[in-house]
Subunit: 304 residues, 2 copies
């Protein structure tokens, strides 16, 4: 599997991908999931891919060396939605070529992409920002998720990020901290913490990581790093996050089941839980079970 | 969906389940996923089920009112592995009865169970502990996961917990804190934190929760609570965990891309990332990109 995440915040875009690929546990390898299409000063597009590696690479080949020279490419698409359409079309071209043959081997047509970036636009282009202090106005950075069917959706302020691949392990921390107002550095940190949780819980995601942070209107790649196990910052995140998480966990009081606590315990025979008694009416002595409670008495010594 | 988790630690067992069921977002309801089979002083078995609700309930009916009176039941199984076999057999009986009809409607035979508990045993029974200070020796509490095919696995000291349903969101915290030595109260807290992360990220999991904490050799249910949105302890966990997580996150320094940091940035043109330049040899000015680094300088002001 793979884990890729991309975030769109007010100050720019963050892209992070792992490099593990596997076709069974005895066939684990690495492959880059991040591809950068850059024409400095004019456009930066970052593509993350997940799914069947042969398919994501076939789409990449189609995008790098288009089979139909009359169609727009990632180098000529005038806007980000046009660029997303180019990727969607490449997915559909590959589907038309490959899906039938794969189906005969029971292989799903399984690939998905995240495309983000910025393309310099004319000042009068729709959606251009009006600052114009770079000599030419720019369309703002935008972020898209492209599905196997070639259709796509765009991120928004209520949903400022996309994940592909093994997304669930690393989702809770993003849901808790990311908003469009999150500064770019903090968003990059959030992506790395999310990746760290995923690495911890899923063997099919692995180092090295590719991290690219794009600052709005830079129109070139200024911040990219490949993170391996010797990277000091990721090691700091890995150690600190794990330690501090355990510390926070330890600071929350354990549940207190003692008498006199505030929240009454619903005893099993009264609770709506499906409670089965033996069919032969064997003696039960529920009455002797002390009424216990589950409450948040901070001062009480946690009962273990 | 569903999220259920059960943990086996030295002091006993912890079971936690949500109650949300859904068949599409416009058909959300609640159902208990936890069933308790209790004969106080003799046995306590706790069954958690996930998957197709009609199937898990069919298995429950089979277990509560066995169709074949000659077979062992959860009330007569002499050991926990025997009890797991009873559940596995019930799953297979339901499969035989239902799978073909479901297949015609394209419905997968999708159900899985966690079974845990303790059955009082003879002192000479295999696996009985030797303490004997309760008048009779007990087999230790044990925990099993039973699959759709009726086969099952047991938890172990390196893998002291099982999850069924929407398991991924809540896995990282368990992986970080749970060991067999974890005290029972702390394990219960860990299960609740894991559930809180799942509730936050997945709408198909919902309150109320059923929490049952079983103390080794109690041989009766002493600690059970149904947790709804008014439960003060769960509310404490929910608030504290979210707040403290954000606090810990804020305390980790943002990545520092400035000159002079310790870890050299792999600049894009040197990095192994798939980097595409425009096909027509347009002027690139990579040379003007300052060498930037990603390092963990704690004292440096995080750059945003």
């Amino acid at each position: 599997m793979t884990y890729c995440v991309a975030m769109s915040v007010d100050d720019g875009l963050v892209f992070l991908s792992d490099t593990r690929t596997n076709a069974g546990v005895d066939h684990i390898s690495t492959a880059r999931k991040m591809t950068v299409f850059e024409q400095p000063g004019e456009r930066v597009l970052v593509l993350l891919g997940a799914g069947n590696l042969a398919l994501t690479q076939a789409v990449l080949h189609e995008l790098s060396e288009p089979s139909n020279p009359d169609r727009p490419t990632l180098w000529t698409a005038p806007t980000m939605p046009d660029a997303a359409r180019v990727v969607g079309q490449a997915v559909r071209d590959v589907h038309q070529r490959e899906a039938h043959a794969l189906q005969e081997f029971g292989v799903d047509f399984n690939c998905s992409f995240i495309l983000g970036g910025q393309i310099a636009g004319a000042a009068n282009a729709q959606g251009a920002n009006a600052e114009g202090n770079h000599g030419r106005a720019h369309n703002r950075p935008r972020l898209f998720m492209i599905y196997s069917a070639g259709n796509f959706i765009e991120s928004s302020s209520v949903s400022p990020y996309f994940q592909i691949g093994e997304s669930k392990y690393g989702k809770p921390i993003i849901d808790r901290v990311l908003t469009p107002a999150t500064p770019l550095g903090e968003a990059a940190k959030c992506a790395l913490v999310s990746m760290d949780s995923t690495l911890r819980s899923n063997l099919s995601v692995g180092l090295p990581l590719d991290l690219l942070v794009y600052e709005t209107d830079a129109l070139r790649v200024t911040r990219f790093v490949s993170i391996d196990q010797d990277n000091a910052y990721f090691d700091l995140i890995h150690r600190t996050w794990g330690e501090r998480l355990r510390q926070v966990f330890a600071e929350i009081p354990d549940p207190n089941w003692q008498d006199g606590a505030e929240v009454p315990l619903q005893r099993p025979e009264r609770a709506p839980v499906l409670h089965r008694s033996p069919p032969d009416g064997a003696q039960t002595d529920h009455a002797s079970v002390p009424a216990q409670t589950l409450a948040q008495d901070d001062k009480a010594k946690p009962q273990r």
